[in-house]
């Protein structure tokens, strides 16, 4: 790391962000719009939930991380359900976008241009990390902004800004975790479609979380493999001691993934 220069990484980050701006804008606008569309419908969903959805099986509610239809009667409960689904989409974006930042450079051989510049492999890796982080943060903030706008518009007393920010911070961590998973995989190899693998990991983790609830006491341990479950909006608002410990463990794991990805990236052949 003695040759590392954050300035060099930031120069590359600026170029990367500019180069990928359409994709980032596209995702931000999509997430903002979807979130807005769902959240602006909150008053009508409130009524519909009571009338039509009460007959739904418990398993269906669990899939959306709800205990009962009462969750839909307040803004934050409804947001929790919607955010749970949006979180999967944002995590898939994080996984595929981050992976492609590294993978595509090698697939299209642009890495030969990039690495001909006066930068080290570590500086390239860090620039990709910063770009991925900035893109994920932008998408997450789009969801938050959209919800805040709708919350003030039609959330009434059930809209609690502090709870919303708590959910964005804790549940939103999933996005950065899957970003790190993809950077780890792309750092290790670019011989497989890393974006696809990263997205599969996202879905697999979600399914594990769902199974842990579905199987109840028989497989609660499965939840430890699912950040979606551990840091669900409900857990994020309740923020009990075990959630803080689990969050600490996942943050440590995220950092470890990023470091291992960077170390391997520094030592492996570029696949060109």
């Amino acid at each position: 790391m003695s040759n590392f220069s954050l300035r060099a990484s930031l120069k590359l980050t600026g170029f990367d962000l500019k180069n990928n701006r359409r994709q980032i804008y596209g995702w931000c606008i999509s997430i903002f719009s979807i979130m807005f569309m769902y959240m602006i419908l909150f008053p009508s969903m409130q009524d519909m939930a009571k009338i039509k959805m009460e007959a739904l099986p418990k398993e269906f509610l669990q899939f959306f991380d709800m205990q009962s239809m009462d969750d839909l009667s307040n803004f934050m409960g409804y947001f929790g359900m919607v955010f749970n689904l949006i979180l999967i989409a944002m995590s898939i974006f994080a996984a595929s976008f981050s992976a492609n930042l590294i993978y595509r450079e090698e697939k299209t051989k642009t890495i030969e241009f990039l690495y001909s510049l006066e930068v080290s492999r570590t500086e390239i890796y860090v620039s990709k990390l910063i770009t991925a982080f900035a893109a994920c943060l932008a998408v997450l903030l789009s969801a938050a902004t959209s919800t805040i706008v709708c919350g003030y518009a039609n959330g009434g007393e059930t809209f609690i800004l502090s709870d919303l920010l708590q959910i964005i911070k804790i549940s939103g961590f999933c996005v950065f975790f899957f970003m790190a998973v993809s950077l780890l995989i792309a750092g290790i190899t670019s011989r497989v479609g890393v974006a696809g693998v990263g997205s599969m990991v996202v879905l697999f983790c979600y399914v594990l979380g769902y199974l842990s609830k579905l199987l109840d006491t028989k497989a609660t341990w499965l939840a430890y493999f699912s950040p979606f479950q551990l840091f669900s909006p409900q857990n994020a608002v309740a923020i009990e001691h075990h959630t803080i410990v689990e969050l600490g463990a996942y943050v440590a794991l995220t950092v470890a993934f990023l470091i291992v990805g960077g170390v391997v990236y520094k030592r492996r052949d570029f696949n060109i």
Binding site: F15, K18, N19, R121, F270, I272
Partner: protein
């Protein structure tokens, strides 16, 4: 002093040995051609020199620095032009040059001068450029900074003859400034014309080496004759020309042709599947 030095360098991809225990020493201020057919190991060697890939065994030293441990330091002195002119499709060459210049002390004027010299429209996006124009982007990018060592992988492929000539004019100017140039090419006549040394690689091994300043000593001659008895013969000869004359004088010759092989003819033998230079 050797500026580029390879010692027992090998590179394997799994079980396939792409480059097998080669060595070379390139002196300062030389233009060195690296010749070999596709798959011979040229790009593997060049990519290892610039740390795109790592040697399986052996050592590569650039200006006294280890190509792996001192990869970033080496870049202060080295310019690299890859064989594939692969760039981001939705950016202009001007934007690419600006990014390059962020890492060197040169101004954008240098990029504009080179673009004008190569007749390149820097406002066009990469996706709108032809292969030849993308190659020009590569060349300009490599020559943007004043490097002591310039490594180029097939720099002229895809360029028209006029641009090839312009390219070598620039390379000769860089040489005059003291730069060392190492380039691979399939264009044997340009190698013969501009290179001080030529290294030939075949099946991952260096099979021949020419110092072009002394190459006439090594040149072979093709001797073809027909005797009055109607016997024709043609063979390659190298060595003392007097012994050839005395050998021929013993024959009753009707027609005789002695042709000195061009260096290009020597090179091309290595492109033939079973060709050897012996």
């Amino acid at each position: 002093m050797a500026v580029i030095e390879l010692e027992h360098f090998s590179k394997a991809y799994g079980k396939f040995l792409a480059v097998d225990d080669i060595g070379m020493s390139i002196e300062k201020g030389e233009i060195v051609g690296f010749v070999g057919k596709n798959g011979a190991g040229k790009s593997t060697t060049i990519r290892s020199m610039v740390n795109m890939i790592f040697p399986t065994s052996g050592k590569i030293t650039i200006d006294g620095m280890d190509s792996v441990k001192d990869a970033k330091k080496i870049k202060n002195k080295l310019s690299y032009m890859p064989s594939d002119s692969a760039y981001y499709e939705n950016v202009t060459s001007e934007e690419l040059f600006k990014l390059c210049l962020k890492f060197s002390n040169e101004g954008i004027d240098r990029a504009h001068d080179l673009a004008a010299f190569f007749e390149l429209d820097t406002k066009k996006k990469i996706s709108e450029l032809s292969l030849g124009n993308r190659k020009k982007v590569s060349i300009i990018q490599a020559l943007l900074k004043s490097a002591d060592i310039i490594i180029m992988d097939e720099p002229t492929s895809g360029l028209d003859p006029l641009m090839q000539s312009k390219f070598f004019d620039l390379i000769l100017k860089e040489k005059e400034k003291g730069a060392t140039v190492f380039l691979s090419s399939h264009n044997l006549s340009e190698i013969e014309k501009y290179c001080d040394k030529v290294i030939i690689i075949k099946d991952g091994k260096i099979v021949d080496y020419f110092d072009m300043r002394n190459v006439k000593i090594k040149h072979k001659q093709t001797v073809s004759y027909t005797t009055k008895d109607g016997i024709s013969s043609s063979y390659e000869f190298s060595g003392d020309i007097n012994s050839l004359i005395s050998e021929l004088s013993a024959l009753d010759i009707e027609s005789l042709e002695i042709k000195t092989n061009t260096v290009e003819e020597e090179f091309i033998k290595y492109y033939k599947e079973d060709g050897t230079n012996e």
